[in-house]
């Protein structure tokens, strides 16, 4: 699945993107490289997403989110809660 498909609360690991090498390198410099785990904290207009990575809030435009393949590792409990509880069934549904 792609980052653009992830709902708020989804916990994902970045797998790959189809950008050219210099862009991939710049994304890596910005903290977005394969293996990095993130949590979706906001959905934004035009398919944008805000990720929480090690406490940082990183905004990504919809076009970029469409090109990032991710692996869904879990779905956290609803927004207002602060727990890291995961809904495995929901995660399995989305992954499928």
């Amino acid at each position: 699945m792609y980052l653009k498909d992830c709902p708020i609360g989804a916990e994902v690991c970045l797998l790959s993107s189809d950008f050219d090498e210099p862009t991939c390198f710049r994304l890596r410099e910005l903290g977005l490289s394969s293996g990095v785990c993130a949590r979706i904290v906001q959905r934004a207009p035009f398919g944008g997403r805000v990720l929480s990575i090690a406490g940082q809030r990183i905004a990504i435009d919809g076009g970029t989110a469409r090109r990032f393949a991710v692996e869904l590792t879990g779905i956290a409990a609803p927004v207002a809660a602060t727990s890291m509880a995961v809904a495995p069934q929901r995660a399995a549904e989305l992954t499928a």
Partner: protein, 655 residues
């Protein structure tokens, strides 16, 4: 040999609080300079450090453009890289670099720091955003970080002025101790001349190329080193929802985000028009009216109140002062609003929300803001281009801003539309705004495919700062600094232009006294006569029209007045009651257009929309981008406006 004050560079990623720290350390003792050979700006300020026996040591602090990496991907990042290695015209590397690191995004800061270590200049670290990091459950072991890096690490909060004294003492010691960052990977630029560069590769100096090569070779090592430090010294307590996250649920919401953004833009527009307008009128009345009459009365004591000296002082110098002074309210309000948006953290979100639209022109989402503000007044809009992170994007936006139809142009549309399209005046005026937006998009697309081909769409990836309450004192200081810079730098050009305009009107051509000549008989009038035939294909080959357009080059607000003056009729009391002026204009346009006055009026309105907005805009473009782009913009806009006017008249006259 005395080298003067030590030079200290502030280096950091965008949005880490670097400029806030710079303002807190230097206060009012700062000025903007152009990086050598570029349109990239940086700030230089004088900072007084505590020295021995209660004395003070003065140093020059340089606020370098924020950069994600020392592998430069934009002119701004290249300037930062060049400055750090002392490449090209920079002369020498800084005596000390303060790496401003963000505790909430430590990995990105550490990565930049690892690259900075390769420059081999002494450095210390200022750690910002510590309170926000704690709020997000991030803990940094500062003492061990300092130990691992081999340089002092000072926690600071420039907004609250916390830790600034300790930073000053640390810098003072570091200037003597010269601490070097220790990453275990650094390879000092041995053998590379950093002062005698000859640009060899696309203008990039040798020292910068050497640094780039070195960093590229060690890139993987840098990433590993950062990961190691983060693993050992930074702890995260898992995801915590913060106040900023909650606010973002509304401000970045797919449904509410855009209306909120448009609301903020609308408020900015109101600030520069509805709120600034009455203050501008008052200032104009005081400076042009009252102060001008005081000067005339004073000269009257010596029987000089009717001569050229009075004209020069009142219509040249005082008019110039009044023009500069009347721009202070909208500029001040705009600077204040920009400071609030930046300081609060919303500016980054605004760029995110508008990104999709501006991406069509290869621009960052933040470019939307100056283009909207331009519909109020182009001057603060040009000032707002500085919020863009890339100098090429700033330049492109700065060239598009004059196509935003400012309120001064509205006065011309209203009079012309009322006279020539009395039953569809509203529609005609609305069409001008639609045309303005269309021109911005078309010009943006054309420029992007020609002189701005290098502006390729890049992924929008931005570290969102936490929302914070703007601090009044630093904000007021920042507004005053920017206003001072505007008045001093743009004010000179505005004054000079207005004095030249006065001189042209004062010089008689067909006899008469200098400074006391009818407009038609002045050098200005003669020039208008000479220029008028150029507008024959556009349907308004008449000196009254060309003289008004020439006056409009100084300010669009005076076009209607200049038309009235040239016909020797009273200026309309209200824009929609043109009276005698209507009759004269109708007669003129009827004659010059061969019976198609409507088409000629539309062409005239379009010319007013598309040609140079005012002398102050040119001055502000020069201030931001230099003379060449400013002059090129004037030339292109005159030619473009003429082509559009001719096309509209020629097509319109066939209908």
């Amino acid at each position: 040999m005395d080298r003067g004050p030590a030079r200290i560079a502030l280096l950091g990623n965008p949005n880490v609080g670097k400029s806030t720290l710079f303002n807190a350390l230097t206060g009012a003792h700062q000025h903007t300079v152009n990086a050598p050979g570029t349109t990239v700006h940086w700030e230089v300020g004088r900072w007084r450090l505590p020295a021995a026996h209660g004395t003070r040591q003065e140093v020059d602090l340089v606020d370098l453009p924020g950069t994600q990496s020392l592998l430069a991907a934009s002119p701004d990042e290249q300037v930062t890289q060049d400055a750090l290695v002392g490449a090209g015209a920079h002369g020498a590397p800084p005596d000390l670099t303060i790496v401003v690191a963000d505790a909430t995004a430590l990995s990105r800061s550490l990565y930049l720091l690892a690259q900075a270590a390769e420059t081999g200049t002494p450095a210390i670290v200022a750690l910002t955003m510590n309170d926000v990091a704690r709020g997000r459950g991030i803990t940094v072991d500062v003492a061990r970080l300092s130990e691992r890096l081999g340089v002092p690490v000072v926690e600071v909060d420039p907004r609250m002025r916390i830790g600034l004294g300790e930073l000053a003492s640390t810098v003072h010691r570091a200037l003597h101790d010269r601490p070097y960052l220790h990453t275990g990977l650094e390879h000092v630029l041995a053998g590379v001349s950093v002062t005698a560069d000859s640009p060899a590769d696309g203008g990039i100096p040798d020292a910068s190329r050497a640094l780039t090569d070195q960093i590229q070779v060690h890139a993987d090592d840098h990433f590993e080193w950062v990961a190691g430090i983060e693993r050992d010294l930074v702890s995260h307590s898992g995801h915590r929802e913060t106040w900023s996250d909650r606010i973002d649920r509304i401000l970045l919401n797919p449904w509410f985000g855009i209306p909120v953004f448009l609301g903020v833009m609308w408020m900015l527009f109101q600030l520069t028009t509805t709120i600034a307008g009455p203050i501008q009128d008052l200032i104009d009345a005081v400076v042009s009216g009252w102060f001008g009459s005081v000067i005339t009365s004073f000269l009257g004591l010596f029987d000089l109140d009717t001569g050229w000296l009075n004209g020069f002082l009142v219509n040249g110098v005082v008019a110039g002062l009044a023009t500069v002074a009347t721009f202070i309210p909208p500029m001040g309000l705009m600077f204040l609003a920009l400071s609030m948006l930046e300081d609060s953290g919303y500016m980054a979100r605004a760029g995110f929300v508008a990104d999709r639209v501006m991406r069509l022109m290869g621009l960052d989402g933040r470019a939307f803001l100056p283009l909207v503000i331009g519909f109020g007044c182009n001057l603060p809009a040009l000032a707002a281009t500085r919020t863009l992170p890339n100098s090429r994007q700033r330049l492109l936006t700065g060239l598009l801003v004059p196509l935003s139809s400012c309120t001064a142009r509205l006065t011309v549309y209203v009079v012309m539309a009322t006279i020539f399209f009395p039953h569809n005046a509203g529609t005609a005026i609305f069409a001008m705004y639609v045309t303005s937006v269309t021109l911005i998009i078309l010009a943006g697309l054309v420029l992007r495919r020609t002189v701005f081909r290098d502006l390729k769409p890049e992924p929008f990836v931005l570290n969102l700062p936490a929302y914070q309450r703007p601090r009044i004192k630093p904000m007021a200081m920042s507004v005053l600094m920017r206003l001072r810079d505007f008045v001093v730098r743009a004010g000179r050009v505005i004054m000079a232009t207005l004095i030249v305009m006065w001189a042209l009107i004062a010089i008689p051509i067909n006899g008469g006294k200098f400074g006391d000549v009818p407009v038609e008989d002045s050098l200005y009038g003669a020039t208008a006569h000479a220029v008028a035939p150029v507008f024959a294909p556009a349907g308004f080959d008449d000196w009254h029209a060309s003289a008004a357009l020439a006056t409009g080059f100084v300010a669009k607000e005076v076009v209607v007045g200049a038309l009235a003056q040239s016909y020797a009729v009273d200026e309309p009391v209200a824009d929609n009651q043109p009276g005698l002026l209507a009759d004269r204009l109708h007669e003129t346009f009827d004659r010059t257009s061969g019976g198609h006055p409507g088409a000629a009026a539309a062409a005239f309105m379009l010319f007013v929309l598309a040609y140079t907005p005012c002398a102050a805009t040119v001055a502000e473009q020069r201030r931001h981008f230099g003379w060449r782009p400013a002059i090129a913009a004037v030339g292109v806009s005159l030619v473009g406006a003429w082509v559009l006017a001719v096309a509209v008249f020629q097509i319109g006259s066939l209908l």
